[in-house]
């Protein structure tokens, strides 16, 4: 009977150990893996103060401006309720487009401007050929014109 008890204890310890690891991972997910904050969350002061964080949203149409050095860009990130001005110096990813999703990492400066040191494009789950995309766009445009 004794070796059997020993084995059971061994298994119980293993389960407990794995459970602790899982709990830690879950906790990490909940607290640290809020990958980005929306402008509304930033304005509601949910974003961390004094350290770098990420904001995410859509690049407002017509807001992208390039400075003469060709590297520095300004754009507005919006979640349709609130906006946030972003400044970034560097190369933008291929999918970065006005009206599309973006995630920028950086910090707020004293003027409430978000100074990004990394800009990532966030794409959506839609895949379609260009012809269909332009048709969809045209259909949408004619709807809004009515």
């Amino acid at each position: 009977m004794k070796p059997r008890h020993k084995k059971l204890a061994f298994i119980a310890a293993g389960v407990a150990g794995i459970a602790v690891i899982v709990a830690l991972v879950m906790n990490a997910f909940r607290s640290n893996l809020v990958f980005f904050f929306t402008p509304s969350q930033v304005i509601a002061k949910e974003a961390p103060v004094g350290r770098a964080f990420r904001i995410g949203g859509l690049v407002e149409k017509g807001s992208l401006k390039r400075e003469n050095d060709g590297l520095t860009v300004h754009f507005v990130v919006t979640d349709t309720k609130h906006d946030m001005n972003v400044t970034y110096k560097g190369i933008l990813p291929d999918l970065f487009k006005e009206g599309k999703g973006v995630v920028a990492q950086g910090r707020l400066d004293s003027n409430g401007q978000f100074v990004a040191d990394e800009v990532l494009a966030k794409h959506d789950e839609n895949y379609m050929p260009p012809e269909v995309a332009s048709e969809l766009k045209a259909a949408k445009a004619s709807k809004t014109n009515l």
């Binding site: 997910f29 990958f35 929306t38 933008l92 487009k97 494009a121 794409h123 959506d124 260009p130």
Partner: protein, 247 residues
């Protein structure tokens, strides 16, 4: 009487022969499906409006990611059955599936990287989807190394089953991570609850590639389980008879 038949079917000796008969069919099917799937991926599926040609990576990335999750669940079921009913064969099946599952998890990770770099602008981010997929890969590695670290097959099966069963909660976490948290990774294009947000030929290519990965996995897992059976039963009389016949 029926009990005897069931035991006979689940006996490694019978399954060894059965698996051997099934392998060629699945292997040929897999080769054909990969050929058709790749043809559709590159020559039939149109360019994507947003992502250009880079989106073609989904044809390997998405099936590999699906397989890595699915194989894990199947592996955990086999391991759990082995643990509960002490059936040798199911534990061996779990062991046979693990390396292929790990491989698909790895493929999903690095093809995702090759997609993320040009599209998102980064090779890697610690968002919930990517992190949980990485944990899945580590779970496979943990399962494999734990099993090979323990010499006694009964104890190694039991230890492996434990990892497999506990780790299974990671699978729904991966799947729903894009819904539960803000992630850089986009949401699912294909789900049971809504129409796929994807052109038909693209969808067809991806599904055929997924079935190709399926048949590949079945063929490889059956091949590997035969080796495991031989290794573990090498002292049994049926193995020496088999080797005698092969001469």
């Amino acid at each position: 009487m029926s009990k005897i038949n069931l035991y006979k079917f689940a006996s490694p000796a019978t399954f060894y022969g059965l698996a051997g008969q099934m392998i060629p069919g699945f292997a040929v099917l897999s080769a054909i499906l990969f050929a058709i799937g790749l043809y559709i991926s590159f020559f039939v599926a149109p360019t994507d409006a947003q992502q250009g040609e880079a989106y073609r990576i989904i044809f390997i990335h998405v099936p590999a990611a699906w397989m890595s999750m699915f194989i894990y669940v199947v592996m955990a079921v086999y391991a759990g059955v082995g643990l509960a009913f002490n059936t040798r064969l199911s534990a061996m099946m779990a062991q046979a599936l693990a390396p292929t599952g790990a491989l698909f998890a790895f493929i999903a990770l690095f093809t995702g990287s090759f997609w993320g770099k040009p599209m998102w602008g980064t090779w890697w981010v610690w968002d919930a989807r990517l992190t949980s997929q990485l944990i899945l890969f580590f779970l496979y590695i943990g399962f494999i190394s734990l099993q090979s670290a323990i010499d006694d097959p009964r104890r190694s099966d039991r230890a492996g089953a434990l990892i497999a069963l506990v780790g299974v909660i990671n699978v729904p976490i991966i799947y729903f991570s894009v819904k539960w948290w803000n992630t850089l990774h986009q949401g699912a294009s294909i789900s049971l609850t809504k129409a796929p947000s994807m052109a038909h030929t693209m969808l067809a290519g991806m599904l055929i590639m997924a079935v190709a990965c399926w048949t590949y996995t079945i063929a490889v897992a059956l091949f590997r389980v035969r080796l495991i059976i031989l290794e573990r039963e090498r002292h049994a009389t049926w193995v020496s008879e088999l080797l005698e016949d092969a001469k």
